[in-house]
Structure formats: structure tokens, C-alpha cells
């Protein structure tokens, strides 16, 4: 009696394993539907390898072959809570990170802006991981009043090549504003400090992080009103079995946002970035 029952159970699980090895991901989803409530939907995901832009402090930056920063801290905490092992891995420059996710070499790209192009190979969380507001930086010596984009008309602005600030602002800027593209944010800061431009538009937190390192923090400051309230989300590779985690991770992110954990972690990361910059540990 007992033996027969054990055989039956063993046979079923064995058949399941064989089927899963054929098409691990699609069967994982099927299994989730069948065994709802008895096992987590991400049972096939034993470990989450994730990466991010290696140069996007304070959200995340590369330190040796690891990625550190606020994103890593938040994601690690969520995955620990979900009981999933993880690794934050440095895989190369930002385009290479995206390509690795597209080809399923990594499971998750943390804290990035959803675009239609990225949606093709990434499944984004509905709730943002972090706020990523765009801000207007000005020289302390030449302050500027900014309530609406019209306030910037007639002034010279700076922008890092390839940056976008939301469709509304981008369209307005194209018609009415004068924005000079520079190679990097550092160049823009140098130009702002030198008075060659009146303002620089960039991400609030990343801008602050760069200021810390550039040594211009006492001369340049961000205006309190953001250009827009941008957000960044987590995107799971559609080729990874760990994409089943997206709902669970989404819920945790919402909770972290509500509890203010995300904002706190950002502030901590800024401090960490500052420390590492002071030590010159950054590669």
C-alpha cells in the first residue's frame, strides 16, 4: 500500500522533471497555475543574477567585479525576504548589461527606465524601484527661479548626450529651449561652473553623486522643483525563469516605497558613494 503510493508520487515528480528540462520556462508558468498556493511561482528560479549600469551612482555603480549601491541594497533585501539566492555581477559597460539581459545571461536588470524598446526583452515591475526625478542644476552664484519650463526660455542650458527627460519636457525643449550637448556630466558641470551655460538638466540623485566626486558641491546646487517626477523600475529578462518573480518583487517594491525604505537607502548610498570616492576606491 505505502510502496504503491510512494511510487505514484515519485513517478509524478519524475515526469515533471523530464518535462521541465524540455522547456523550463513555459512549464514553470504552467506549474505555477497548477500548484497555486502550495509552492512559490518562482520555484524554478534558484538564484537571481542581476546587474545594472556600472556608472549610475548612487543607485548603483561598479566596484571590482561587483555592483553596489542603493539598487543592490534594496533588491538584495527583497530577494532575501523571498528566500531566493542572488548575485550582483559586473558584466561590462551599460550596453553590454542590456544585451546580457536580452540574451538571458543575467536574470534581472535593476533600476532602469522602461522604454518600448526595452519592454521587448524585459518584463518591468509595475511599481518603481526608486524615484528618479530630473532636476535643474544651477551655480550657487547665479541662482535661477524655476517653476515651469517657460522660466528657462532665453537661458543657455546643458545636457549630457543621449539623456531624455520625458516626452513633455523634451518636446518643449526642442521648440523653445537652448540645450547644448556635452560628452559627459562632468563637462557640463565644468561649463556651468565656468558660466558658459546657465543651467544643466540631469537626474537629481545622479547629479548629486557626481557633484560629490567632482568637488563642485559647494558651487553647484539643484533647484528644489524637478523637471519631472521620473521613476526607475526593475526589469526581468524574458528569457529567465526568474521572471516569475516579477509580481512578488513588484509587491515588495511597493511596500518599500510606502515605508520610505527606498528613499532611505538612496541617502545611505550617497553617503557610501561619498566615502568610496574619498578613499579613491572607485575603479
Amino acid at each position: 500500500m505505502y510502496g504503491g503510493w510512494a511510487d505514484l508520487v515519485g513517478g509524478a515528480s519524475q515526469a515533471m522533471e523530464v518535462a521541465m528540462s524540455v522547456n523550463r520556462r513555459s512549464l514553470g508558468v504552467g506549474f505555477l497555475a497548477l500548484a497555486m498556493g502550495t509552492a512559490p511561482a518562482w520555484a524554478q528560479c534558484t538564484r537571481v543574477v542581476f546587474s545594472a549600469n556600472p556608472d549610475y551612482p548612487p543607485y548603483h555603480w561598479a566596484e571590482g567585479d561587483r555592483i553596489v549601491g542603493a539598487s543592490v541594497a534594496l533588491t538584495g533585501r527583497i530577494l532575501d525576504e523571498l528566500g531566493v539566492a542572488w548575485q550582483a555581477r559586473f558584466v561590462g559597460p551599460w550596453p553590454r548589461v542590456l544585451k546580457s539581459a536580452e540574451f538571458g545571461e543575467i536574470d534581472l536588470v535593476v533600476s532602469l527606465k522602461p522604454t518600448p524598446e526595452r519592454e521587448a526583452y524585459l518584463e518591468f515591475t509595475r511599481n518603481p524601484a526608486f524615484p528618479n526625478p530630473m532636476a535643474v542644476f544651477v551655480a550657487r552664484a547665479r541662482p535661477l527661479r524655476f517653476d515651469a519650463p517657460e522660466d528657462l526660455v532665453g537661458r543657455r542650458g546643458g545636457r549630457t548626450v543621449g539623456d531624455r527627460f520625458g516626452d513633455v519636457f523634451d518636446r518643449y525643449a526642442e521648440k523653445h529651449l537652448t540645450l547644448e550637448d556635452a560628452e559627459s556630466l562632468d563637462v557640463n558641470y565644468q561649463k556651468l561652473a565656468a558660466g558658459r551655460v546657465d543651467y544643466v538638466v540631469t537626474g537629481l540623485y545622479t547629479g548629486r553623486a557626481h557633484l560629490v566626486r567632482s568637488g563642485l558641491a559647494d558651487r553647484i546646487v539643484a533647484l528644489p522643483r524637478p523637471v519631472n517626477e521620473g521613476t526607475i523600475h526593475h526589469g526581468f529578462s524574458r528569457r529567465s525563469p526568474c521572471s516569475a518573480l516579477v509580481a512578488a518583487v513588484d509587491a515588495k517594491l511597493a511596500a518599500a516605497h510606502r515605508s520610505g525604505l527606498a528613499a532611505r537607502l538612496l541617502e545611505e548610498a550617497l553617503q557610501q558613494w561619498q566615502r568610496s570616492a574619498a578613499k579613491g576606491a572607485r575603479p
Binding site: G92, P93, P95, R96, K99, E102, F103
Partner: protein
């Protein structure tokens, strides 16, 4: 004079073949060189590309690592700046092409001929690895076109080939000139010398003559030819001499043929005469000129033609032989000829006809016939003699057998078997004279058996004529005993002994012999003589034996015969169990007759007694004169009492009729009988005789003229008393 085409000239051919050999070798070595050169250029290209890739490595690694298409584009452009490179492609490690560019040059057509031997393009791949960890980030692939290199290389090859051919042509020219001087000219001089024959005397062919002095192969050829020409001249002279000798010889042989005494006749394969000499023509009664062209068969009759056609075929088959043959002369008479023939072969080795040496054999053949006839006669004579000698042997044997025969039936058997042997081819028999004068057949032989068992003496002409009588089927008077059936010639021979006819010998030859065959006649005569002699001898011997056992006075068996007979009859009686009675008879008062009337009357009394006894006994009984006036009778299968009755009746009858004269002279003659029978009185001869004698004495004692029977008991007592 035959013109040798330029291409056929020895010098040109030699030069061409040398040049071709040189060209082939040149091309062979050039091909080796070309292969090596091509391998070197390939290696050089590889080295160049390796250098290019070394220069491009770092930018390519960066572009692949950064996944930067602009940077990749720069690298690909750089690669294409090298002339050999027609295509370059940079890929990242995800398999995506970051940059790809192809030169817009005319690619060599895919079906260009050298593409079968060399790949039209070469591909080189450089793996891209980033950083100290050698992380693979992509690969750079460049493709070079082989076209320009191969085309350039081929130009060199064509140039080299052209030069080779030019070199060969120069070699051809040089060698042609050289060979013309060293080979063609001397050989042409020799050839001209051979073609045009020896130069006119006094104007020697210097060019050719000079060649004989050379110390090489051409010199050898020239010398050999000079020698050959000299020998040929000598041979021609010798042949002419032979032809003359042959003509003389032929004339001589023709004379021999024409004057030969034997006929010579030659025919072709169809049998037509191609040659005949006068002797042959004379034999056939014609002339030689007329014979030529006529077929052999004209001189034969039909039978001869068939035989001749067969012979001719055999002759054409190729054998030689001698045989005799019959021809018909022109005047129709017969010619026997002996032919010795042999086949003649034509120039092609086939049989073309036949040659015959003919000798007239007519005369010899006639002599041979005569000789053969004489020989046959002689052989017949010898045969007759042999036959006669054989007959004599048979007859001598017959004579011997007849002398040994003990009775006439035995003798007749001997005669019959001898007749069968002597006259085996015919039939016959012997008849002898019987008691009543009739002829009785005693033996016959052969078939058919025709001699009648009896015939009268008067029926036979031989007996009537007193000599042999011959009766041929169509001739001569036939005897009455002739059967009338065909039995051939019949001879009846009467056999007379001392003027008395003994018998007749009949012999018929079955129709095989001549009527007057002397040998047969002699044989019959001798056979008859022997039969006469043998049979009369036998009869003489029988008569002598008779005389020894009979009493001469009475003709009765004498005492000797009786003594032989009595034990035999006793033994038979004891075997059969029948009685045997012995009678002892004595004439009463015989001494008185003798003394009173003389011995003559005494003899008549004894003869009367004998006749009386002879007439009274049965045929199986026996009466004999035992001595003096005592007679004995042996009565078989008769008891004593029967005998007593028989004798007592005889005494009463007293047969005076047997000698009436005696009765008249002496009156009645009486006799006394004593009887004893076996086995009652005795079982042996002497005892029985004594018993009979005792009974006789007893009867005498009673006064005679009575019959006394010996008593059995008395006999037993007497026997016991003995």
C-alpha cells in the same frame, strides 16, 4: 625517286622528339617550381593578414566590448583599407553583427577555371578577448580575394610557358641542322647508291664510297651493303649457270622418255593426257600426238571407267602404287597393262595430276593363265591321291574289323558304318542272298534310305548281267528295286564268291559326281572285294566251329557241346525253380544189328534214332549223341513224369516213316530210356548223369524197351551214401 616528306625526315623527327622531350621536362620542372611559388605567395598573404589583424585587434576588442557600432564601423573600414580584403565583419559574443562591410569590387566569376584548383576566397577569423580575464567579447572575420593574386601569378606562368616553347623551337632548329649533317646526308648517299645500283665503272660514287670508311654505325651499314651487293652478283651468276644445266638435263630426260620402251603417260587432275611417249601410243594402237588432250577414259570400256575414276581419285589423294589395268586399244582389242603410278604436285603443292609408267602385260598375263590352269590340274590330282590314300586307310580298317567280327550281324554293322564314311555324299546299302534265294537287305546308309528290305534276284540287272550295272538319272536301264526317287547315279555291284552270289552292293552318289567317276568306281570295287572276303571268311569260321561241336554221323550236338550245355541249364533251372529232366537213351540190341547187317545198317539205325529224337523234342530242348549207341536228351521245364509219358508214346509210335527202308530190312528198332530230373534226383551235372544212367540200367535190367525214372529218395540216399 621517292621524295621523303619533311616531317618524315629522320633529322626532323629526331629533332622534334628531342625538343618535345625537353619541352615536357621543362614543363614538368616548371610545374614543380610554380607549385612552390604559389605556396610561398599564399604564406606571404597569410603573414600580411596576420599583421593587419594585429593592428586592428585592440580597436576591435574595444568596439566589441562596448558593443559600439560606430567603433566597429571604424574597425571594419580599417580592415577594408587593405587591398586583398574584400569583406570584413565584426561580431559580438552574442552572435550579432556590429559592423559588416563588403568591398564593391568585381568578384571573380564563380566558374573561373582556376577555381577548381584554388579557393577563390580565403577567410581569416580573429577571436576578440577583453581584459586580463581574456573574456571573449566577439570576433573579427576578414575575407580576402584570391583573384588578383592568382591572376598575377598566372601571368608569370604564361610568360614562363611561352619562353619554354621558344627555347624548344630553338632546340628543334639546332638539332635539325646537326642531325641533317651527321645522319641524313650520309644515309641519303647510301640510299641513293642502293637505289641506282653500282656506279658506272671508272666513276665511283664518292659520297657513298666515303661512308664505308666511317668508324660508326653508318659505316657498318655501308660496308654491309657493299658486301651484300657483291654476294648478290655472285648468286645471280650461279643461278644462271643452274638454269642452263637444268635445261640440258630436261632435254636429256625428254629424250629418255621419248625413246623408252616402257610407256610413259601423264594426265592432269581431270584425267586428260598431258604427255605420252610413242611406246605408250603404240601399245594403245595410236600415235602420241593424237593422245595428247584426250581423256584417259577414251581407252577403256564402261567397267574400266568406273575402276579408273576410283583409282584416279585415290591417286589425286596422294598415294603411289602398282596395279594391273585393262585398256581397250584403238582397234577395239584388249590391252592388259601394268601401271606404276605416282601423283604429280603443282607449284602450289596441290595434286595436279598423275604420272604412270606403263608396261604391256598382255603376254605375261596369258602365260600366267596357262600356268594357273596347269597348277589347278596338278592340285586336283594330288587331291585324288590323297582321297584314295584316305579310302585305303578306311578300307584297311574295315578289313581288320571284319576279320575280328564274330557273327554276321556284327559284320553287317561294320559294313554299314564303313559305307557311311566312304560314301558320305551319297546313299546305299548291302543286300545278301537269303535261304530262299531272295535278296535280303542287311544294312544301308545315307539319305534317302531307299534300299528295299527284300527283292527278287531277277529284279536286279547286275545279278542278271553278272557284273556292275550303272543307272544314271537319264541313262541306263533301271532295276526293279530302283525307288524312282532322284538318288543320282546308282551302281549295283554283284558280289560273287566261287561263282556263288553272296549279295549285291548298292551305291548312289546323290547326284554330285560324274557318271563315270573312275575314283568312285575303284572305291566301290575295293569295298565290294573287302565285303566279299570278310563275309566268306566269317562264314568259313562259323562252319569250322559247327564241325567241332556236332556229331558227323547224325548231325546232333556231340558230347562236348552237351557237357558245355548241361551245367548252364542246371543253373538256369535252379534259378527259375522249374524242373529239368535228363533222359538217357540206349538202342536195344544195337550190337546185334551191327554184327548181323553190317556197319552200314548200324549207321542207319543210329541216324534213325537221331531223327526220331530230333523230331520229338521241343525247340528249347536238346538231343545229342553221347557216344556209341547212347543218346541224351535234355528237357527243360519238364518233370520226369511228363517225360515218361512223352517217351512211352514215342516208343509206341515207333516212327518207321523216318526210314521206311530200314524198317523193311531190320524190322522194328527198339530203345530203352532212363530218366532223372533235377532238383529231385540231383543238383549237379555229374550226379544227374549218374542218376539217369542208373535208371537206364534199371530199365535194361527189366528187359529193355521201357522207361525208368530214377527215384528221388534213392538219389538222396545215393547222394548221402557218397
Amino acid at each position: 625517286m621517292r621524295r621523303v616528306p619533311l616531317a618524315g625526315r629522320l633529322a626532323v623527327r629526331q629533332a622534334l622528339s628531342s625538343a618535345l622531350l625537353a619541352l615536357a621536362l621543362g614543363i614538368g620542372f616548371s610545374a614543380l617550381q610554380v607549385t612552390r611559388d604559389f605556396t610561398e605567395t599564399t604564406a606571404a598573404e597569410q603573414r600580411e593578414i596576420a599583421q593587419v589583424l594585429a593592428v586592428l585587434r585592440e580597436p576591435a576588442v574595444q568596439a566589441a566590448y562596448q558593443l559600439s557600432e560606430p567603433a566597429a564601423e571604424v574597425v571594419v573600414q580599417g580592415a577594408l583599407s587593405f587591398t586583398q580584403v574584400i569583406e570584413a565583419r565584426l561580431r559580438n559574443d552574442f552572435g550579432e553583427t556590429l559592423a559588416h562591410r563588403r568591398k564593391d569590387v568585381a568578384a571573380p566569376p564563380a566558374d573561373v577555371w582556376w577555381a577548381r584548383f584554388v579557393e577563390p576566397t580565403n577567410a581569416y577569423t580573429l577571436p576578440l578577448e577583453y581584459g586580463a580575464a581574456k573574456k571573449r567579447v566577439g570576433e573579427l572575420r576578414v575575407i580576402t580575394s584570391q583573384g588578383p593574386r592568382v591572376e598575377h601569378f598566372l601571368q608569370g606562368v604564361w610568360r614562363e610557358l611561352g619562353l619554354s616553347i621558344l627555347r624548344s623551337l630553338i632546340i628543334v632548329l639546332a638539332l635539325s641542322v646537326l642531325f641533317y649533317g651527321t645522319l641524313t646526308r650520309p644515309l641519303t648517299a647510301i640510299a641513293r647508291r642502293i637505289r641506282s645500283g653500282p656506279a658506272t665503272p671508272g666513276e665511283p660514287d664518292d659520297a657513298a664510297r666515303a661512308q664505308t670508311d666511317r668508324q660508326d654505325e653508318i659505316g657498318e651499314i655501308a660496308s654491309a651493303f657493299e658486301r651484300y651487293e657483291r654476294e648478290a652478283r655472285e648468286r645471280t651468276l650461279s643461278l644462271e649457270a643452274s638454269a642452263a644445266a637444268l635445261a640440258a638435263s630436261e632435254a636429256r630426260y625428254r629424250r629418255v622418255v621419248e625413246t623408252a620402251l616402257e610407256g610413259v603417260w601423264q594426265i592432269d587432275a581431270q584425267g586428260r593426257t598431258t604427255l605420252a611417249n610413242e611406246a605408250m601410243a603404240q601399245m594403245l594402237g595410236t600415235t602420241a600426238a593424237e593422245m595428247v588432250g584426250r581423256p584417259l577414259f577414251d581407252f577403256m570400256d564402261d567397267e574400266g571407267r568406273q575402276a579408273a575414276a576410283q583409282l584416279l581419285r585415290r591417286r589425286l589423294g596422294g598415294s603411289s602404287e602398282r596395279h594391273e589395268f585393262r585398256f581397250v586399244r584403238a582397234d577395239g582389242s584388249e590391252l592388259w597393262a601394268e601401271l606404276s603410278t605416282c601423283p604429280i604436285t603443282g607449284p602450289d603443292g596441290q595434286i595436279a595430276g598423275a604420272l604412270a609408267m606403263v608396261t604391256d602385260a598382255t603376254e605375261r598375263r596369258r602365260r600366267n593363265e596357262e600356268l594357273r590352269a596347269g597348277n589347278a590340274q596338278l592340285r586336283a590330282m594330288v587331291g585324288n591321291l590323297e582321297r584314295h590314300s584316305h579310302d585305303m586307310a578306311q578300307i584297311a580298317e574295315l578289313n581288320e574289323l571284319l576279320q575280328s567280327a564274330r557273327s554276321e550281324p556284327e559284320a553287317f554293322d561294320v559294313i554299314r558304318s564303313a559305307g557311311q564314311r566312304l560314301f558320305a555324299e551319297g546313299s546305299g546299302g548291302l543286300s545278301i542272298t537269303g535261304h530262299d534265294g531272295e535278296m535280303v537287305r542287311v544294312g544301308q546308309w545315307g539319305t534317302p534310305a531307299w534300299v528295299p528290305p527284300h527283292f527278287s534276284r531277277g529284279d536286279c540287272w547286275a545279278i542278271r548281267r553278272g557284273g556292275p550295272h550303272v543307272q544314271a538319272p537319264e541313262r541306263g536301264v533301271k532295276c526293279m528295286h530302283h525307288p524312282g526317287d532322284p538318288i543320282g547315279n546308282l551302281v549295283c555291284t554283284p558280289l560273287y564268291v566261287d561263282g556263288a552270289l553272296l549279295g549285291v552292293l548298292h551305291t548312289a552318289d546323290g547326284g554330285s559326281g560324274a557318271p563315270r567317276d573312275e575314283t568312285l568306281r575303284q572305291r566301290i570295287e575295293i569295298f565290294g572285294e573287302v565285303i566279299k572276303l570278310g563275309l566268306s571268311n566269317l562264314r568259313l569260321r562259323e562252319s569250322l566251329r559247327e564241325q567241332a561241336l556236332r556229331d558227323a554221323l547224325t548231325g546232333l550236338p556231340n558230347r562236348r557241346l552237351f557237357d558245355e550245355t548241361l551245367p548252364r541249364e542246371l543253373a538256369r533251372s535252379s534259378r527259375s525253380g522249374h524242373a529239368l529232366t535228363l533222359a538217357s537213351i540206349d538202342v536195344d540190341k544195337f550190337k546185334q544189328f551191327n554184327d548181323t547187317h553190317g556197319h552200314d545198317v548200324g549207321d542207319r539205325v543210329l541216324r534213325w534214332m537221331a531223327n526220331t529224337l530230333t523230331h520229338s523234342i521241343r525247340s528249347g530242348d536238346m538231343a545229342c549223341r553221347y557216344g556209341g549207341d547212347e543218346f541224351l536228351c535234355l528237357l527243360v521245364d519238364m518233370s520226369a513224369e511228363e517225360a515218361r509219358e512223352r517217351f512211352e508214346r514215342l516208343m509206341v509210335e515207333a516212327r518207321s516213316d523216318l526210314d521206311p527202308e530200314l524198317g523193311a530190312r531190320v524190322g522194328r528198332v527198339g530203345f530203352t530210356v532212363g530218366l532223372a530230373s533235377a532238383p529231385d534226383c540231383a543238383t549237379d551235372a555229374a550226379a544227374l548223369l549218374r542218376a539217369a544212367d542208373a535208371a537206364l540200367y534199371a530199365a535194361k535190367a527189366r528187359g529193355g524197351r521201357c522207361v525208368e525214372v530214377a527215384a528221388p529218395q534213392a538219389v538222396v540216399e545215393i547222394a548221402v551214401g557218397h
